[in-house]
Symmetry: C2
Subunit: 361 residues, 2 copies
Amino acid sequence: MPQTGKPEPLPPGSTIGILGGGQLGRMLALAAARLGLKTHVYSDESESCAFYVASETTRASFRDPKELAKFARRCDAVTFEFENVPDETVRELMQHVPVAPGPEPLRIAQDRFLEKSFLQQKGLLTAPFHNVASESQAREAFTALAGPAVLKTRRLGYDGKGQRIVKTAEDAARAFAELGGVPSILEGFVEFAFETSVIAARGQDGAFAAYDPALNEHEHHILRRSTVPSGLPEKKVQEAFAMARRIAEALNYIGVLGVELFVTKDLRLLVNEIAPRVHNSGHWTLEGCAVSQFEQHIRAVAGWPLGDPARHSNAVMRNIIGAEVEDWKQLAGRAGLHLYGKRVARPGRKMGHVTTISPGE
Amino acid sequence: MPQTGKPEPLPPGSTIGILGGGQLGRMLALAAARLGLKTHVYSDESESCAFYVASETTRASFRDPKELAKFARRCDAVTFEFENVPDETVRELMQHVPVAPGPEPLRIAQDRFLEKSFLQQKGLLTAPFHNVASESQAREAFTALAGPAVLKTRRLGYDGKGQRIVKTAEDAARAFAELGGVPSILEGFVEFAFETSVIAARGQDGAFAAYDPALNEHEHHILRRSTVPSGLPEKKVQEAFAMARRIAEALNYIGVLGVELFVTKDLRLLVNEIAPRVHNSGHWTLEGCAVSQFEQHIRAVAGWPLGDPARHSNAVMRNIIGAEVEDWKQLAGRAGLHLYGKRVARPGRKMGHVTTISPGE
């Protein structure tokens, strides 16, 4: 990424490459189209819902250097819609084209141990945690935390996958084995009052913008509902923005990032995790703001000025999960409906969402 | 179109065919994608900005029955983004697939004489007009109108093309010859206070919905700016809605239609013309409403329930015309920016628009 000097914005008609073909890639492609930018979606899955709205598509492995080089040469900038892009993929692409947010945010976000260590180093609160590389370390970590805990694989977990709640030292050792004996962390259980998230953006010129935090409610580890405003006092909202800004600046971040936060009863803000991409809890911005998180991300990646993140309305975003999409005839009556065009409604799969807005405060 | 009984909505994943590849087709395709519907854009121009966002594209003549049949068989419903679709095209398509809004609205909207005759027959006010098929009829019509007038070709006029202001009977005869001696009408000049438009929709179930009318300002016969609210008194807004509804019902219309109105100083409403499609003066609904005119049209064409046309904000939409798009670096700083991805910025060509919203009333 050109990180120095005044950024030269990509002219309309330029092509933004998007790694990953899911709903986030799809909504990024739709946002790019509004701005007169083309998109090229690269996905390793034949059934990728972002393919239907992209100007160009490539279906190939993320580890195919020839296809990556061909893709990179046809793009003016590249971004991604999921954090588990292999390192080598980004390195290969960066030989040909700027990639945002860049490899460092990916490296941090892909590994829970690096992520939490980075956050603590930057002075941000997290749950207490210990690195776990063996069953005996799992037992020791549990003893050190002295309370219920969650064992999480360091890499490749999402929506509750790769996690086990543990209540004894023996639980911890067993969970480590059950999760395949892969590098993990044991996290102390946080007693939180509620969960929130800051969807923020940093531009190539260093500008920072953040959307009003949402109150996030989960079911079976999957986001069920995001509500804005969250009820977080204004002073705490500003503190949350400052935390997101510190993260973005430390990573020399370009684009939108999601910072998930636990809010304790005494209103301390603990970072749960960082998503180096647009985020499910920011979908409400499509209806609630003049500039959505998707457009904001594209603006940053293209070197355009960030848009105003002000919201004009209150909003409630509810995910449509798995078989719920079979009620599409009911859902069709709703304003603010988004369906992602996925063919198969597996349990837990995000199939769409509905945002309801009401006059803002 | 199936016009009787309860409509069976097209399921997500269905394909909406769109005839025409301009910005209206592009924004229709983007709206369809939100709802999980695919689009197939059919255009006779190789450089069609809607191609970049459609799931499928066909570039072929509108008079190629083989290509039309192939297209129709791959679509579950077909609509169009411009009113000058040849009759034979629609007839060919209707052998294979439902076409909305259907051939009758097209027939009426394609011919200024039929259009104005239809409107008068339905009890709606228009400018006084006379059919003109010869130079002598042009002179007679001018004399009958007894005042300044506009000669307009019956077919294929838009953005002021195919029009001449005439001030004498001889002017009228000359204008008729200059416009190629094609079937025309001579319209009495209307002294209006301002122009407005109703963007309305009718669903397959007969439901009717209309957006708050915009105040429309033109420059060189091209829409410059639409402002909502228009300043039209509420009683007159309701009258305008009733006029649009009468038109839609008389035509058994399915989809969005634009009804352009002249408002006289004494607040009489005269219909200027009907656009059987989404309309430039409805672009503000993308930012100002939970359901835009584009989504509304797709909903109607797909047999879905119409969405709520309520606006949550006041809005001003300004077109970006011709070389104005060269200021894209300035424009990039604006929220509510839409660029259409057209390569060549010919004078008078609509290249994009910007909508600014502010809290509603």
